[in-house]
């Protein structure tokens, strides 16, 4: 039986969809059968992030309404045999699906996939309730901003109220230089406030924009720091102990490097 994870955040634009795409691709690259569910009905995006937008014929609303079979709506990834996407509908709204229908859908997916990852819409309304209905574990994505952390706190409270206890946190878009200067909340600051387990941190990285432009996942990019960060997250989901990257070491400045080279440090 598969494991069901929901990726959520409360606030929009913090990287839920990018995170869903990368974790899903990473798990599939490790040989697992993965189904990604876009539950952002009316604002479908996971398909374009994965570069699968032109293969959509049926969507999640068609499946729950019985217009097609689940198998017909699942889109197979271009790269990985084991990676599938169930797209959201673009021309309907959140009320087109209800939590009971989601439960039925997920029960069916669980028979066939190792991991089912649900991309939750922003907000705390019906779209959120649909997304968490069948989930067993929750991943909360935030960024080091007051607004995003506040919304993450609210979401963690709502998840706990729905018996999704011990959600795991991903802190996205960290800028190590700003953290060092004291102009951005650090990982410790955020963990101190939210008091949840950390699943990983993702540094701000231009490669995310570049890979998303191409409809590819940065997790497959061996040279980028964000790709490494997502690979670490995937390994942690698979149960490995992987230390959190030390951002200071990664991004050492010119003078520090020079000092190291000439042997002062």
């Amino acid at each position: 039986m598969g494991q069901v994870l929901v990726v959520t955040s409360g606030k929009g634009g913090v990287g839920k969809t990018t995170t869903t795409a990368n974790i899903g691709t990473g798990l599939a690259a490790a040989g697992h059968k993965v189904a990604l569910l876009d539950t952002d009905i009316g604002l479908r995006n996971l398909d374009v992030v994965l570069g699968l937008e032109n293969r959509i014929v049926f969507d999640i609303v068609d499946v729950v309404n019985g217009n097609c079979r689940l198998r017909q709506a699942l889109i197979r990834d271009k790269r990985f045999e084991g990676l599938h996407l169930l797209p959201a509908a673009q021309t309907k709204d959140k009320t087109a699906v209800n939590p009971d229908q989601m439960l039925g859908l997920i029960a069916e997916l669980k028979k066939e996939f190792d991991y089912i990852i649900i991309d939750c819409p922003a907000g705390i309304e019906q779209g959120f309730r649909n997304a968490i209905a069948g989930a067993e574990k929750a991943i909360v994505v935030t960024t080091p901003e007051v607004s995003a952390v506040r919304d993450a706190d609210r979401i963690i409270g709502l998840l706990e109220a729905s018996d999704l206890r011990e959600p795991k946190l991903i802190i996205n878009r960290i800028r190590p230089k700003m953290v060092r200067q004291g102009d951005m909340m650090s990982i410790e600051d955020i963990l101190d406030i939210l008091a949840v387990d950390l699943l990983g941190i993702i540094p701000e990285d231009d490669m995310i924009v570049i890979t998303t432009n191409r409809g590819e996942a940065v997790v497959l990019d061996q040279n980028s720091r964000s790709g490494q960060a997502y690979r670490n997250i995937v390994r942690r989901i698979l149960g490995e102990e992987v230390p959190i990257i030390n951002l200071d070491e990664e991004e050492e400045g010119f003078f520090k490097k020079l000092r190291r080279i000439i042997g002062l440090k």
């Binding site: 604002l43 479908r44 374009v48 937008e53 032109n54 959509i56 014929v57 673009q90 021309t91």
Partner: protein, 144 residues
């Protein structure tokens, strides 16, 4: 009213209209004077003529043919009731997905073909083919 104005403009091309288009002349045509944006969809029992664009995420389905006087970047389905003679035409044909009757096509994954002339998609020999739409160009040349 809209339908008759539209059929006039098509029949105005005269007797030398390509046979394919001649067949399409039909009273049951809707004229849409706006751009369809993401999340908007148009379903019509008949032909659809759009004076505007069809953006990514928008969807047009018609039992007849679809003519877009603008850019087609979304999803279109002509001959939605199963009519294999339906066509899709656009000034700029770059659909996310193009369907005619029960045929579904999408642009190639790496193909960056982006012509700047009108194109027409139709079923020929059981497959969807896309050809440049020469006729309008010649016509334009004659007028100016």
């Amino acid at each position: 009213m809209i339908a008759s104005a539209n059929s006039y403009s098509i029949s105005g091309f005269g007797h030398d209209l390509p046979a394919k288009l001649e067949d399409l002349i039909d009273e049951n045509t809707i004229l849409v004077q706006r751009t369809l944006r993401s999340g908007q969809s148009l379903h019509y029992n008949g032909n659809v003529v759009i004076l505007g664009d069809v953006n990514p995420g928008a969807e047009v389905a018609a039992t007849g043919s679809i003519i877009i006087m603008g850019s087609l970047r979304g999803v279109v389905h002509a001959g939605a009731g199963g009519d294999v003679n339906a066509i899709v035409m656009a000034f700029h044909l770059q659909p996310t997905q193009l369907r005619i009757a029960d045929h579904i096509t999408r642009p190639p994954d790496n193909g960056a073909i982006d012509p700047d002339y009108p194109e027409m998609a139709q079923i020929k020999g059981g497959v969807v083919t896309i050809e440049s739409f020469q006729y309008a160009g010649e016509r334009q040349g004659k007028v100016t």
